[in-house]
């Protein structure tokens, strides 16, 4: 019984033999790369890249929930990406504003 369920999954038209499975799954790779970058200094965060990916994640989260069939992998990976990119933007903004305050205080 387990074998036939596995076979049903394996041979599914959007299963692991197809790009329809791996492409949305790999979108998590961007989130993971960004998580790895949490240890980097905020000066190296790119405003254009992180904002573009945040907006992209939010729009695709909406998109994947209204298409037929709903694509839960794309939904989850888009939301994950939007969250981590928002956090990176917050890190950079906080760094920029706190540095400005320190520079003003010194003067």
């Amino acid at each position: 019984m387990a074998a036939s369920k596995f076979q049903a999954f394996w041979n599914h038209p959007a299963g692991p033999n197809t790009i329809h499975f791996w492409a949305p799954l790999f979108k998590w790779g961007i989130t993971i790369a960004n998580l790895a970058d949490l240890s980097k200094p905020p000066e190296e965060i790119s405003y254009p890249q992180q904002s573009a990916l945040t907006i992209n994640g939010l729009i695709w989260a909406r998109y994947s929930s209204v298409i037929t069939p709903k694509n839960w992998t794309l939904l989850s990976s888009s939301l994950g990406m939007a969250s981590i990119c928002t956090y990176q933007l917050a890190r950079k903004l906080e760094h920029e504003f706190s540095s400005k305050y320190e520079a003003d205080a010194i003067e």
Partner: protein, 107 residues
């Protein structure tokens, strides 16, 4: 004018998420182009490598999806080029692509 109105009201037009999803993808292409002007020290190797794999997978996805999505294919092909270029800039700055220099210094 009539065809423009038909486009505005179409089921995959700008009033729907089906339009803004693929459009949002161009956001990170533009972000990549903007980031090409920055010094290579600011490039994140993690994110750029992840983007290269991501766009390669989604080029295949756009080709295989029914109906074939040429706009998505063009978007990811552009992103692939930009991210590969950024990756080469990053690798050069890190010293990974300096074989010629090493050969010259060893002679």
């Amino acid at each position: 004018m009539a065809s423009f109105r038909a486009f505005l009201n179409s089921p995959v037009g700008p009033k729907t998420t089906h339009f803004w999803g693929p459009v949002a993808n161009w956001g990170f292409v533009v972000a990549g182009l903007v980031d090409m002007q920055k010094p290579p020290e600011m490039i994140s190797g993690n994110m750029t490598a992840a983007m290269c794999i991501y766009s390669a997978l989604f080029m295949r996805f756009a080709w295989m999806v029914q109906p074939r999505n040429y706009l998505l294919l063009a978007c990811h092909a552009s992103n692939e080029s930009v991210q590969l270029y950024q990756l080469s800039r990053w690798a050069t700055a890190q010293g990974y692509l300096s074989q010629k220099k090493d050969k010259a210094s060893s002679q």
